[in-house]
Subunit: 271 residues, 2 copies
């Protein structure tokens, strides 16, 4: 095992205030490649060689050499001098089993949900201290584009899916979230740890979570946890609607129905 931070025994203080992804350092080749691939933000689209060198902090020659190799592999593409993420990344990413199985099983059920409500449904897992959206199905005209892209991230403590994962997931995760200050995403976001704990207790009683304008003003969500074969929570499923059309009981009822079916499907796959 490798020691993360020097294991000085007295460091019960902040063992790891890092983001969900521990090490941006490392002078290994893989570390550099990681730097390169991860400086492409969600919207950066294309970056020049110099821009890459600047952002990664690597020598221009190194970036040049590695990028060449990445292009050859297909992880990067080159269009008139600019680099962007390559198609092979998408291809390999689609093979990731945890994602693929969950999506394949949930998709039809999410479509049912959307047809029954004409609202938007999200499928998410927890990663670090955030939710990672695996899929999203929207109703006819209901395009909620902004804060909930597929593969987008949001804090655990402000989203309905996140609260569901916190309420029904491992205690340790909750403690980790509580041990850092809760960022305020909207004026209505729960930032008091005590209040959050109360919300989660209520959630455990009710079997679902509701959230009003804590992630985005004008919208509310209801979410439930999805449990796998072992009984552990593996994901969360939600319905999001404008506050004007908030039908908490109806959403919760539908979600519970769908959740039961989903648990059966997951168990059948030994997930």
């Amino acid at each position: 095992m490798m020691m993360e931070t020097s294991p000085s025994p007295g460091c019960l203080f902040q063992p790891d205030p890092r983001e969900p992804h521990p090490a941006p350092d490392s002078n290994s080749v893989l570390g550099k490649v990681r730097r390169i691939l991860e400086v492409f933000g969600l919207d950066d689209e294309t970056l020049s060689l110099s821009e890459l060198a600047r952002r990664t902090g690597l020598a221009k020659a190194s970036v040049h050499r590695l990028s060449q190799e990445l292009v050859q592999w297909g992880l990067l593409e080159r269009r008139n001098g600019e680099y962007r993420l390559g198609m092979r990344l998408f291809e390999i990413g689609q093979r990731v089993p945890r994602q693929r199985i969950l999506r394949d099983l949930a998709r039809p059920l999410m479509i049912d949900l959307v047809q029954a409500t004409n609202e938007t449904s999200h499928l998410a897992v927890s990663d670090g201290l955030e939710v990672l959206y695996l899929d999203k199905v929207s109703g006819e005209q209901t395009q909620i584009s902004r804060p909930s892209r597929v593969a987008g991230r949001m804090p655990l403590h402000c989203t309905a899916t996140g609260k569901a994962l916190l309420a029904f997931g491992p205690r340790q995760l909750l403690e980790e979230v509580m041990s850092a200050p809760l960022t305020r995403v909207t004026p209505r976001t729960t930032v008091a740890p005590g209040l959050l704990g109360q919300e989660l207790r209520k959630a455990r009683e009710q079997g679902y979570v509701a959230e009003f304008e804590q992630t985005r003003i004008g919208y509310m969500s209801v979410a439930i946890p999805l449990t796998g074969a072992t009984g552990a929570v593996v994901a969360a499923l939600s319905v999001t609607a404008p506050t004007t059309r908030a039908k908490v009981d109806r959403f919760a009822g539908l979600l519970n129905l769908v959740g039961r079916r989903m648990t059966k499907l997951l168990s059948a796959q030994e997930f």
Copy 2:
């Protein structure tokens, strides 16, 4: 080190039954990482350390070290001793712009198509000598699961999307396809280069391609090319149906309508 097949010039027999991606060799770190990530087949789910070492041809110690680093990054995950592709691959893969833009723009139109036909619609690009499926939208009960997963691949010469890309794409690609023997996927697959050329000529006249049971017995498809801002073909869009419900003219008409809208959208994004 294992050389794949030595590129002996006299091997016009089976020149390259390999995937469309040129170099599996290279003793660089990236080459090894590539080997590791790409031995995970579409269904392999999880592999043990020894299995990885065996498949990649790398030393066990090397696989161990690199896998550790990959796990730390999130490109691999470890569950009770077994490795599998990690969630971060999915996350990064979803950021790939060429894929994301095409999908985001096409998705609503594909849903329209599916609602109008109650059949299945595919979005695909060409990669090497194959089509790579970017998205797939199915009607109510119409689950065509097998040969057309998202991120799945099929030969260019037997699928409707592939023929569309060949008919309207760069001449050089067609020549490349023609220069290798055309594999027979079903008994009805076009394997005679002359016949393929004829089909493509007809396609260019009509503006669309139709294919009957060349990819899968019992099913047919109609496809059109999608052109970007520069006028170049960037993808293909298709409708697939059981042969019993083949309505070529209707499918072609709908696709043309959608294609025109898509071209406008792509141009607006300077794609």
